[in-house]
Structure formats: C-alpha cells, structure tokens
Amino acid sequence: MAQVLEPRAMGRDLVRRDGPDKIRGTAGYADETPVVAPLYAFLVQATIARGRVLDMDLTDAELGEGVLRVITAATAERLASTEDAELAALQSAEIAFRGQVIGLVLAETSEAARRAGELVRVDYEQDPHDVTLAADRDDLYAPDTVNPAYATDTYDGDVDAALAGADVVVDQTYSTAMYHNNPLEPHATTALWDPAGPGFLTLWDSTQGVHPTRSAVQKVLGLDEQQVRVVCPYVGGGFGAKGRPHVHVVLAAMAARAVPGRPVKLALTRQQMFSLAGYRTPTIQRMRLGADRDGHLQAIAIDVVEQTSRIKEFAEQTGLPTRMMYAAPNRRTTHRLAALDVPVPSWMRAPGECPGMFGPEVAMDELAEALDIDPVQLRIRNEPDIDPETGKPFSSRNLVACLREGAERFGWAGRDPRPAERLEGGWLVGTGVASSIYPTYRRAESTAIIRYDMGRYTAAIGAADLGTGAWTVLPQIAADALSVPVEDVDVLIGDTAHPYATVAGGSSGTATWGSALVEAARAFRDKFGTDPDDGDAIAGSAGPSDAAQRYTMAAFGAQFAEARVNADTGELRVPRLLGVFAAGRIINPRTARSQLIGGMTMGLSMALHEQSVLDPRFGHVVNHDLAEYHITACADVGDVQAHWIDEEDPHVNAMGSKGIGEIGIVGTAAAVSNAVYNATGVRVRDLPITLDKLLSALPD
C-alpha cells in the first residue's frame, strides 16, 4: 500500500498557472516558435489509395518564386529504420492509403510552398483498393494482442449454453463510426538541424510526450539520444492524436536535415489531419446478454470487428470494458480485424473503453426494458464483488455509489420507463443512463528532479500539459510531497532537457509524473532535510506499481442524459448531461471538472454529430474539414454537470488519484441513445444518432 500524502495543496481549487498567457494568446505553441527566417514545408499527398508512383514531374513546382526544393522518395535521405511503416516517410514509391505523403515542398513562404505542392504532377500505377469494413468479410483475423497488450480473446464458462438457458436474451449488433480526434491545434513541428549547436536536431513539436517522440525520431533517423531535443511547453489539444509521433515529425526532421542551420516549419492542414494524424477505427459490436427473470446476468459476450491499416496494425481494445463491468459466470470477448487500404488508426480519447461502452450499455438498457427492471437497478444488481475477468479484488470500485448519487442529482426517481409517452410542446422527452469505466494506469518509469534555490523549489520533469492542467496540478502534488506552500513551488515541463517522462496517455500522466515527484521529494528531504542550501537538487523515479499485481484498479462513473426529439422534424437536442464519477482523490477540482465535462461533451459529440465518411470509391474521408466533420458547437450544449464522490484509494499511488482525462467520454453516447429511445421508442444502435434514423420511425 502506498503511503498516501496528506492533502494540503491537493484538493484546492487553484486557477490555471498558464491561464494568464492563454487568455492573451501568448502561450507559445509548436508552430509559433520564434525562429529566424524559417522555411515553410508543405506536404504533397497521394491521390490514389493503393498502387505506386511511377513518375513525379516537379518542373513547374520548382520554378515557383521562393521555392527551394521538392523532396520526393527519389531524392529523400534513406532512413535508419523503416520498422514503423507509418514513419517511413518517402522511402518507396508504394502507396498504401490515399493521402500518404509522396513529397515535401520547402519554400520561403507558406503561400509559395502550398502553391508549389499543387503544381507537382504525379503519374501513378493504380491497384484496386479495399477500404470497406464489414463483419462478414472473409479475411478478418485475430491480432496477437489488442492495445496496448491485452489478450485478444477471453472465454469463461459456456456462453452458448447459458444463453440457451436464459430467461431473457438480448442479441443485437451495434456500431460506432470512424472518428477523428481533431484537436484545435493542427499537428505542427518546427525543426532545426544545427550540426554546430549543442544538439544536432531540435524539434518544437506539438506532442503528448517529448521523450517518446524523441525515442521514435532518433531511431528512425539513426541518431543518438543526445543528438535530439524535443520541446513542447503547450499542446493545443491532443486527445490521443499527439500521443504517438506521426509521419510529419519525421518529415520535418528530414526537411531540416536537408537545409542545415535553417529552421523549417511544418504544420498539417486540417484536411491533412484526416489521413496523417491517426483516428479511431469504426467498430461493429455483436452483443449478447442472457439473464434470469430477476435480472442477474448469466452470460455476457461481445464480438468486435474493426479495421486497421495494411501497413501497420493498431487493434483497438473495444471488448475490454465488457471483461470487468458486470458479474456473469459465462463470458466471452473477441476482437477481429480487417487490414484495409486506409490510413493508420491510433489512439483517440479512451481507446477501447469509449466505443466499447456503447454497445454493452445500450444492450443493458434493452435488457432492462425486456425484464421491466429499472436500468439503474439492473446495473446495481450485476455489481461484481471481484474483477470477473481476473478474480482480483478492485482497489476501490464505486460504480453503485455513482449510479445512486447520479440518480438522486438527476431526478431519476419516478422516471416513466415507457417509450414515446411524454410530449412537451411538440418535443418528445426521455431520459437515459449508462455506466462509465476507465482503467487506472501508472506507467513504469518517470523521473523528476527537485531543486532548491532562494526559498523556492523547482521540479523538472518532461511532462506535457494538453490543457489537462499539469502546469497547475504538478506543483500541488510537489508542494504536498515537500510539505511546503504550493506558492513556493515551480515546475518545468515539456522539454527533453528535463528528466524522462512518459506519454500523457491512458489517463496516466498525473499518476505517473506525480509519483515521480513524490519520490524526488522524499529523496530530497532524506538528503537535505527541511533546511536545504541553494542549489541542492536530487532526482527521484517512479517505479512499477506493486499494487497493480494484486488489485484491479479503475475509475467508474454513471452518466445521465435527457433527450428531446422534435415530434415533427426529428431534430434532437440534449439539454442535460449529468455525470458522477469515482476517480480517487481529485487534485484540482477546477481543472478536473473541465476535463470531465469536456469528455462528456465530446461523448455528446460522438452521439449526435461525429462521423468520418470514407468514400469506398476513392478511399478518403470526404468530410475532411470542420464544416463537414461536425463536432459539438456552443449552441449544441446545454446543462453539463460533472460531480464526484469522495473516494479514498490507498493502493493506486501516493496521491490516491485515478485518471480523469478519458472516463468522461466513456458511456455518454450510450446514455444519449438510451434517452432517445425513452423519448421516441426508436432504438438507434448505429452512431451517430442523426435525425434520418429517427424521422421515419417517430410515432404519429
């Protein structure tokens, strides 16, 4: 059991330290790095989905005023490693997906670079492509593991026999769409190759992890760790899209190496982000639930079909939450992939849990209706004593408390379960509920240095603040670990010049980096006591979590939604979303609330708006901009509330905190779909819930 810190600064509602810069726009993002006389890079992309480049005519492009050069596969440097096919930029003529980078223009201005890119003429040899995901494909395969390293399939008991003997069975197929993360700041890298400088390559890159980015780039380029520095004080949103370096980082580095001493700026356009920056695979989920008359689940099964790219596998762990949500003696989860001629999928906020709590939580609503049991009660009735998958105890599990408190706050009592019974001023009104879960991860290794100078402590660690509040929250942890006022603590993050930090992903940042800060603070006090001298400094590292061997650790939540559907037009509004979460100690309620309501609102966006439409004829996302890929806008959002229960968990880490960056998006879409059903009697099993799916089925 970790020794839990006494909270003094932790738990305080402190204003963001980076707030004053952000409200003025003076917090510097990657593309804004003040460098002298940069060159601008523009990427040329393939317009076929499979085949090869036969010839590129650069004549007109290179004639453009201010155009320095055009780099193609024919002229690009040979990379040291092409093991990661996504990062193997300009290494061959082969095309594996539409939008793949086939050239890079360097010019004195962004206008000149872009125009030259448009003037590149390409001859292709085109092969037939296949970008269509379907559950009945004959080439589906089982990956070795699913992200990051979970078993692909799990079986327990005899699901078929249990379903055959169950009083009530739900057997339905659900689907989630292809989604693009779309952080507001497009991916951008400013790169400088300076053989004369202290480091050879400096990358100011918008990334969720400066050290992981450095590791990837140094390997691809064949450089030593000391030859690459990655800097990123601010990230204009990531949501997983900046968790792993994408090809533009390598291209920026290659471009910089082609013009030593000259800085290069490369920013993806919004359109390019739809093929080069990762996305969430569409999923098809066949759910089977079997229960007895009292609502006790006898069998739970989810069979997931999803896609990956032909050149690099990413297997989203969509079946994962089903493994631990509810008790049932007979269980089955499987994942099958289709490798298609599509861009490379990757992390998007709560990979696995987010899509993987849509089908199951709508299915639970269908089961509740079939049994005539309240959906909140059905979930409580199937609360497991231990993790049904592993048999381990939970370090803490307060789903039931979240459901009860949420029901109370939302006004769930007395809810009319009959669908399509409430018409108010031409609008059909309904409510729905769904559960949330997100595993509590702590990564194996991060290091912090704490230094004392002139009455102040400075903690340095290569962490990232994506808007998550790290600039503010890490000082709170360090202050409590050092037993000093938070006002006396500064932090330095976002630079590989600071000690190694893991990626801001899997809602693990605060837990991992905070644990390193706590270790550094303990080492500092052990060595220097409470009256240190100026310049005293020491490092501390977070090791692997022993408790993770003994316990299943996860945050839980319950989300409630109200839907109003216009009885004549099918227009759908969600005036209320309310979530209650159990996520251990909340270190800063202000930034935590913003993360949770942000996740819930992104879940609302998934429920109502988001869908990347892949054209099977050409293999590209046709709605590849923010006018057509709809995300929630201000007027789509009504009353969004996030609450939490006081949860003490001494096992997770010294802060007692669980991650909160992702759980907010988990379950929201199911809660909305369930509310829409209660409002209209139309069960929408395929996201997004657009009015065409409601209109024809609305009651007269």
């Binding site: 952000k22 003076t26 206008e111 949103g237 919004r270």
Partner: protein, 177 residues
C-alpha cells in the same frame, strides 16, 4: 505572376508596416510576417473561429480575410485587449470560469466574445432573437448561438457561456472600460 504590396496595419496599438503577397491572409500576415501569434490557425477555412480578431472594431475570421484588402486597418488581438496591465473583463471571466483547457481556441473565443457583447449591446438580433425588431437579451441562448462559430474541442462550452454572461454584466456596470 506574383504581386507584392506594401501595407501598414495598426496591430494592438502599434503601426506595423509590412510587405504581403496578395494571396496572404490577414492571419498569415499577423502570424508569419509580423510574429503576432495570438490569433491561431485551426482550420484556415473559416470553420473553427480560432483566428478571430477585431478588425476595425468588428470580429472577423482573419483566415478568410486578405491582408492586402485592409491596409490602414486597425487590428486588435486577444493580446491587445487588456488595459494598463489588466485583462479585459471577458478575459478575466474566462480565467474565473476556467472557460478553456488547451488554450488554442481561447484568443479567438475571447475576441469573438467581445464582438458578441458589442453586437448585443448595439441591439443586433441573432437567429434565436424572438423579436428581431426589439432589443436582444443578454442570456444563455443568445450567447451560445452567437459563440457557435468558435469551436472548442476541449469542449469548455458549459463554462464559456457563463463567462461571457459574467463579462457582459460587468461591462454593463463598468461603462468606463
């Protein structure tokens, strides 16, 4: 054939002479030519609002505005809104309400909110104004509608609307601002 033009912009109170390609947007003129990076590039197509600045007193999408067409114009970015070292009431309200996370859309949100409050005060109706001939109210629906051109992927909307309402009420009290 390319054509360059010499213009001067008054940016956050400072005259800034510069040479622009006639293709150069106001956003790129600010960010790439002048190093004024408070307005952000989120889409470059007028779809996200991150580039919003106040041009001659009105909110505009600087990525859809050609710089050459606005020589002599007055540009105010979020970095130029404060006075005497104090943030604008809209900015203070954004801080107080935690109306942002990553901060990338924030300068555009702030400039847009200043424009929205001016428009409501001037009596200009929106799509949700019940009586287009009457005075629009400073309320949730008016603000949410008028701020919907400024996307926030962190989804701080539930804090942004109260922040703009707070600022609107404060501005109504402090006519001196």
């Amino acid at each position: 054939m390319l054509v360059d033009a010499d213009i001067t912009l008054l940016v956050d109170g400072t005259p800034r002479p510069l040479t622009v390609d006639t293709r150069t947007t106001l956003l790129d003129a600010l960010r790439q030519r002048l190093g004024v990076t408070s307005p952000k590039k989120g889409c470059d197509h007028g779809q996200c609002g991150a580039c919003t600045v106040l041009l001659d007193g009105r909110r505009v999408l600087s990525c859809l505005t050609l710089a050459v067409a606005h020589g002599g114009g007055t540009v105010v970015t979020a970095d130029g809104l404060g006075r005497d070292g104090r943030p604008h009431p809209v900015q203070r309200a954004f801080l107080d309400r935690d109306a942002f996370q990553c901060g990338y859309c924030t300068p555009g949100q702030v400039c847009s909110a200043v424009g929205v409050l001016d428009e409501i005060a001037a009596g200009r109706p929106s799509a949700v104004t019940a009586d287009v001939a009457g005075e629009p109210e400073l309320d949730h629906d008016e603000v949410a509608e008028r701020m919907s051109g400024n996307l926030c992927r962190c989804a701080a909307y539930a804090n942004i609307v109260p922040a703009v309402l707070d600022a609107g009420r404060e501005l109504a009290r402090e006519e001196a601002w």
